[in-house]
Amino acid sequence: MKLWQEYLRPNSISEAVQALTSSPGQACVIAGGTDLLLDIQQGRHSNVHTLVDITSIPELNQLEVRRDLLYIGATVSLNRIASSPLAIEHAQALAEASRLIGGPQVRNVATLGGNVAHALPAADGTIAMMSLDTQVLVASQENIREVPLQKMFLGAGKTALSTGKELIAGFCIPLRKKNQASAFKRIMRSQGIALPIINLSAWLQREGDRIVDLRIAAGPAGATPRRIASVEDLLRGNTIKDGLISDAVCELLDQIQFRTSPQRATAEYRHHLVKLLLVDTLLEAWDRAG
């Protein structure tokens, strides 16, 4: 079985969308391909006729400040994000997550676009972007629409993208202002099938000893990546102190029903770790915002 029949390398978004819609068989966007090709090869993805490689589209390969936003094109490699001074300055949680995904060789080709398009409930890049108020630019033949990241996920592995008609062009993240900061952390399990078992990303704005605003996302916390709004509400506007943090931990535990995944972690273990991650990540962001 061939991995694909036809491989196209369009130079513009409109050519890419055109290629998707006019394929005689199933067409798929490929960026890094580090997940997609393995999924096809190992039979987790249906046969693909056309792969539309979007990595030659200049627009999708930009990482730059556009007015008050940081624009990260869908095909910017994770290594570039991890080492980009702009990303570290404005989206530190994302830079940290990008540094942790896969190995160095994989990060040279893997992209955030792929991370989001796969719609896994706990992809590191996605969770980091969830805390950064990210807008997704979705391109179709007609236009480019902006979709808030959390609205992109309809279920495990399912996105709001219209398959074969739309592609992710990039991401927009508000620039960091004074007293704002973010952090990302995760915990791995090194035994057996060795996978990250839980991750958490926090963004906050402080004013003296008070948290003015914040966003927290954790995975896996359900079928789709999600923010933990009630924890945010509980902390928002309050002064950070031990009691408040324990309340936040309790609220977080109320909000997330963990699953036991065989060979990865029990729900109880995740329950225990997410407490540590929340405190750790929150305080990291807190210190950075000071």
Partner: protein
């Protein structure tokens, strides 16, 4: 649409037609013949296929060739520069050679290319930066410290323009002209330049590609098999089933109980059983044909563990039942031993299955020759056993088959059994064309034998003063679907199950049981790794109970010269155990102070309440060299002198990365008084090289090393008498000096003797079949083994008491190897063995549920990477064994055996939790830490 691919590889522009679905790795390997780029996993996990594209390292196995349009690619073949003066290695290549970073060599192109990209951007990398860059470029020989030091040396050289600094390695205390000196591998330059050829790199005219249809169910009767649709697939040339096997259906190294294919109405015993094999024009077609083969099964209840297999009502898997072997060790009177004990402890331990995860998956090629013979190209640990088993399957005499052994990308015991050899021979025989059968990683994980999962109960009795009075052990070993070397492995586990101690009363029972899991067979440590984990944990538990220092307790009971082992063997010489313990303890105390076994709190963070606790742990071990147990243990070697003065040593002992070729080269150079570079090594060809026996049981340095030494001596004698006669002098006047023969006052080139010998009707070569000292079977007192290696190790761990995560920070290791032949090769064995032990302790777990393999991809089976590597300090201890070459005994296995218990004992010392199940599970550890602290 572009239908031509333009790309630049290593400075050359190529214009190639596009092949849909092609990866860059395939383009490089099959179309450009740049086979230095290796495929280890084909799933973006191992890093072997790394190439550099526009300055960035990427994995070519998941890089679409069409994406390389217009790009500049550098592969391993592009680093060295060639001019009229010869090859100039890149400093990285040179450093990898001289620092001993190359062992099997299969991962090396990936290691070097990843490092090359790093050094292009950063010529002053820190250790941390190197580890970050090489995080996912796996080496199973695991010479990670050597790889790191090579990269540092190359970086220095690139930055300063100075030559690559030599390796910093304390050479052996005892050295001769060649033996004991640092010697680089004869194949190292080929391996760092990508020129080294492994089986999958070979091409033959009209070669077909094979694939095997695996059962996929663990226990069943094959009810129905239909190959009709698959046969009709264009490009399929032949499909064979069990009824097409002309000779014996069953193969096996000890017991022929393993069917090459299972026929209709017959029993499937594990998911990797084969029901049909296909040969087709391309690999793609062969694999596609597998989907068209229709097999139906009547599934049967699964026997999933050895204890269940032993129950009277368990389904019966083989005609003689589920018990492969009941192994017994009896010494003294254990009942009396426990009666006189002041303390008795008993505990049960569990070890998991593990996979060898050699980076090179199995590959065999069968080539039918016009004279009616069959050639098998394969990386095999036992070429002569392959020959015999292939011949039997074809119904031929052995001599009609020739096995031509290839470089092996790691073996570790996992390339002893037949994998694809018989299948490709059957297909080549049926089609009259060469046939290649290459496993992908998935198939490799499913099919080849694993390390035995065990359950080991240990009961220790001791006096108040620490003297052991009795040890009783009961072992269950999961030998899986077929015997492989299960009986031998579990025998070794059993005889070593009371540890490297002199115990007056021993009682051990072992049940090696068939199950529906993948077969278990040889794996570095050969059962002793499992039983050492159990007994060395017990020794620490006993030390605590007796309030004794764990090293003192071990010293008190340690085997020494004059001791009698469990099996009734008197150790007459070469027992360096106490010296190993002392060396390790002294160094540990020098670093950690007088109380290394007490917990040391390193970080306390108020809010998160996180604590990192460190402590040291200690363990000792012993392991036989050689087959032992009454098995005839012999090896043949031939040494020949050529007119140009060079020598060649020939044997069918196997090189799997461990460094035997260097050892043989050095042995012959030492004996003939020539430079090692003047000695070529030809191995693993059953037509050209004499049988070296299996490469197992850490035996080759001893057995084949001796054969080579004696063959060289015999040749030397023949040369001496030829010269003595020619010049009419007493043989005492003939001397060998640096490639020259000195005859009285005359000095003549050694090579010129060849003509003299031929003139007198003699060939300038000598063949010796060396027989190792006779051993006795288990149950008969006397020497069960002709030598033992000994080791002690201390590990410092750091446990995160909030997450249960464990890191190993440093390891001190001392190994009594009798005599270090090549300290550089030894260093690689120590580093790699230790890392393998570390993997078994902390990361590796081959998971099988009800006969179904869960860890069926490399992504799910985690072997240690450079980021897991602790600081390693190695002491060489040399208690020579009289019969060994220059005193040497085995080293390959002993190095990894004490690692697991030294880590788990350290965990206990840090947090008070006794790990009795491998691998250490961070979640379980965390709950136990929490329970303990209330």
């Amino acid at each position: 649409m572009e239908n031509i691919l333009n790309l630049n590889v290593n400075g050359t522009n190529y214009e190639l037609p596009i092949i849909p679905g092609e990866t860059l790795a395939d383009l490089l390997r099959y179309r450009l013949n740049l086979t230095g780029t290796k495929i280890g996993c084909n799933e973006a996990e191992c890093g072997a296929c790394t190439v550099v594209i526009d300055s960035e390292p990427v994995l070519s196995c998941i890089y679409p060739a069409e994406r390389a349009q217009g790009k500049n690619i550098v592969t391993i073949e592009g680093l060295a520069k060639q001019d009229n003066k010869g090859i100039h290695l890149h400093p990285l290549q040179e450093a990898f050679v001289t620092h001993g970073a190359v062992q099997c060599g299969f991962c090396i192109p990936g290691q070097i290319m990843t490092s090359y990209a790093l050094l292009e951007q950063n010529q002053t990398p820190t250790s941390q930066e190197i580890r970050y860059a090489l995080k996912d470029t796996l080496c199973r020989c695991a010479g990670y410290p050597s790889i790191e030091s090579a990269i540092q040396a190359a970086a220095d050289s690139l930055r300063t323009g100075q030559p690559v600094a030599p390796v910093e390695l304390s050479i052996a205390e005892n050295k001769n002209r060649v033996i004991g000196q640092i010697q680089v591998r004869p194949d190292a330059v080929e391996k760092v330049t990508g020129k080294a050829i492994f089986t999958d790199d070979l091409k033959f005219k009209d070669m077909l590609f094979a694939a095997a249809k695996r059962a996929g169910v663990p226990h069943a009767i094959l009810r129905h098999l239909d190959i009709g649709r698959a046969k009709d697939l264009p490009g399929v040339i032949s499909i064979l089933t069990a009824q097409d096997i002309p000779g014996d259906v069953y193969h096996g190294l000890v017991i022929p109980d393993w069917p090459s294919m299972v026929g209709v109405g017959e029993r499937i015993r594990y998911v990797g059983d084969t029901v049909a094999i296909v040969a087709a024009e391309t690999q793609e077609i062969a694999r596609e044909a597998l989907y068209l083969i229709e097999a139906e099964y009547d599934e049967l209840p699964v026997v999933s563990d050895p204890v269940q297999a032993h129950k009277p009502n368990a389904p019966v898997l083989h005609k003689n039942g589920n018990l492969l072997k009941h192994i017994k060790v009896r010494k003294g009177d254990v009942e009396e031993g426990f009666n006189i004990a002041d303390v008795i402890l008993e505990h049960t331990f569990y070890t998991s299955m593990t996979d060898h995860a050699f980076i090179e998956p199995e590959c065999s090629i069968a080539v039918p020759r016009l004279d009616g013979r069959m050639e098998i190209y394969v990386g095999s640990q036992i070429p002569y056993a392959d020959r015999e088993q292939v011949a039997r399957a074809l119904g031929w005499p052995d001599e009609r088959v020739r096995v031509i052994g290839q470089l092996m990308g790691g073996g570790f015991g996992g390339k002893e059994d037949i994998m694809g050899q018989i299948h490709c021979a059957l297909l080549a025989n049926a089609t009259g064309r060469p046939v290649k059968l290459l496993f992908d990683r998935h198939e490799s994980l499913l099919v080849h034998p694993k390390r035995h999962a065990t359950r080991i109960r240990v009961k220790l009795g001791a006096r108040r003063d620490g003297h052991l009075t009795a040890v009783e052990t009961e072992l269950y070993g999961d030998t899986g679907a077929y015997a492989s070397l299960g009986e031998k492995v579990m025998t070794r586990a059993t005889t070593h199950s009371a540890g490297p101690y002199e115990v007056p009363n021993v009682w051990a029972d072992c049940y090696a049981m068939y199950t529906n899991n993948p077969p278990a067979g040889a794996f570095r440590g050969f059962g002793v790794l499992q039983s050492a984990f159990a007994v060395e944990s017990m020794m620490d538990m006993l030390a605590e109970k007796l309030k004794m220092d764990p090293v003192e307790l071990r010293r008190l009971n340690a085997l020494q010269v004059g001791s009698i082992t469990n099996t009734g063997q008197v150790l007459r010489e070469s027992v360096g155990l106490t010296e190993c313990m002392d060396k390790v303890r002294d160094e540990m105390i020098r670093r950690a102070g007088p109380n290394p076994f007490l917990p040391n709190l390193t970080v306390e963070d108020g809010l998160r309440n996180g604590k990192l606790v460190r402590a040291w742990g200690f363990a000792a071990a012993y392991k036989n060299t050689g087959l032992g147990g009454g098995a005839p243990d012999k090896s043949g070697a031939e040494v020949e002198l050529y007119p140009d003065g060079s020598l060649e040593v020939r044997t069918s002992a196997a090189e799997l990365g461990q460094g035997l070729v260097t050892v043989l080269q050095m042995v012959v150079a030492e004996e003939m008084n020539v430079n090692a570079q003047n000695v070529r090594v030809l191995i693993m060809d059953t037509d050209l090289t004499p049988d070296g026996g299996p490469t197992t049981a850490s035996r080759q340095t001893y057995v084949t090393g001796n054969a080579a030494r004696l063959a060289a001596r015999s040749l030397k004698q023949a040369i001496t008498s030829t010269l003595a006669e020619k010049y009419d002098l007493a043989p005492g006047h003939v001397k060998f000096i640096e490639g020259l023969a000195q005859v009285g006052e005359k000095t003549i080139p050694l090579g010129s003797v060849v003509a003299d010998m031929q003139a007198s009707g003699q060939a300038a070569r000598a063949l010796v079949e060396y027989w190792a000292p006779e051993t006795k079977p288990l149950g008969q007192a006397g020497d069960m083994h002709f030598a033992f290696s000994f080791a002690a190790q201390a590990a410092e761990v750091e446990v995160n008491t909030q997450t249960g995560e464990v890191r190993v920070l440093q390891v001190i290791s001392a190994n009594d190897v009798g005599r270090a032949i090549n300290p550089l090769g030894l260093q690689g064995q120590v580093e790699g063995g230790l890392m393998m032990g570390l993997g078994h302790a902390l990361t590796e777990n081959f998971i099988v549920e009800e006969g179904i393999v869960v860890t069926d991809r490399l992504a799910r089976y985690r072997i240690p990477s450079i980021t897991h590597t602790p600081q390693i300090t190695s002491f060489i201890v040399e208690h020579p064994t009289q019969e060994g070459p220059y005193g040497a005994k085995g080293v390959g296995e002993i190095v990894s055996i004490p690692t697991v218990p030294s880590i788990t004992n350290a965990i206990y010392n840090a947090v008070g939790v006794r790990v009795d199940r491998l691998p250490v599970d961070q979640e379980v550890l965390l709950w136990e830490i929490k329970n303990k602290n209330g």
